[in-house]
Amino acid sequence: MAAGPMKMRATLNGGVTDVRVLMTHPMETGQRKDPDGKLVPLHFIQNVTVKLNGRTVVESQISQGISRNPVFTFRLKGGAKGDRIEVSWIDNQGETNQTETAVA
């Protein structure tokens, strides 16, 4: 499956930037069976990186398939209006996607 869209919002709230990002991903746990009874292979977002103006501020590792089309939220200190936030992910099958937005 080609990587679907991502949607991100970043808002400043009293010195703390709330980042909320939606990702399109099947997030297979590796335990689900398809209609033929075969296991659907493990397929999940493994690493998520958040950058603030090009500087990495969050590096996260995810160990398993959580819900399909997950939403992640982060709270960053020290953002300012107009700062550029980039979020990128890479899954266990090597697919990647990224999006960026400005803090509002």
Partner: protein, 233 residues
């Protein structure tokens, strides 16, 4: 609470892409489709459906109008355009993505379906009659489940949909994303699945009777600001 950060927006984005993608033998997009507010106007269009369309001489809901545009603008056949109207976990259908996008463009607009034209009145009456018409193997009607207050199936409360106070919040949130199966579902699907649960013959997609039911329910729930696409259990 489940509405917060719901993947509805992802479906809207994919729907917008599809709306602008040239398709069919004529190789054109749906951008010139007239949803009732003029060709290409999407903003606020969903809240005014179903209504009567002069060019097709019938009352249409969103899905039947989209089908009409696919056939007239894009030159696709009805068979080809309705090949896959309901999606599954892995692949949403074209109708589902498009309705996510179009309905999302009506947020905040008051639900005001057509009630003035004689065909709209006739369709409303047909929808009302269908709502109470008992038939099929179990002799069910819509009102068998949605006809008495305080009823539920498991933990799901059943709204009494011929009463405006019940219909308003429901009709203002369809089409909707269902959390339990991660799928985006159209109102046509909702009606189709209700007929399946009633053990009735499957209604034709976007047929006059399904549109009539949609119109009856939407008129009953009119006036509510649209706050969908919703997030359902």
């Amino acid at each position: 609470m489940i509405a917060e950060g719901s993947p509805v927006e992802l479906f809207e984005l994919q729907g917008e892409e599809l709306w602008k993608k040239p398709q069919g033998p004529k190789g054109v997009s749906l951008e010139q489709c007239d949803l009732g507010l003029g060709a290409g106007v999407v903003k606020g269009a969903y809240a005014r459906l179903p209504r009567y369309f002069n060019d097709a001489d019938r009352v249409m809901d969103l899905e039947s109008r989209l089908l009409h545009c696919m056939m007239t603008l894009q030159g696709r056949t009805r068979e080809q355009a309705t090949l896959r109207v309901f999606g599954n976990d892995d692949r949403p259908s074209e109708m589902e993505l498009l309705s996510a996008y179009i309905a999302g463009q009506s947020r905040g607009a008051r639900m005001s379906p057509g009630t003035a034209h004689s065909k709209e009145k006739a369709s409303y009456e047909l929808g009302r009659a269908l709502y109470f018409h008992r038939a099929g193997a179990w002799d069910f009607s819509c009102a068998s489940c949605h006809g008495e207050e305080g009823k539920r199936i498991r933990m799901q409360e059943l709204p009494v949909l011929y009463r405006p106070e019940h219909a308003r919040p429901i009709m203002a949130t369809w089409p909707a994303y269902r959390v339990s199966n991660s799928q985006f579902k159209t109102l046509q699907w909702r009606l189709n699945d209700c007929y399946r649960q009633m053990r009735m013959p499957e209604p034709n997609f976007a047929s006059d009777s399904t549109v009539a039911l949609a119109l009856f329910l939407t008129v009953t729930g009119k006036g509510e600001p649209y706050h969908g696409p919703g997030t359902k259990r």
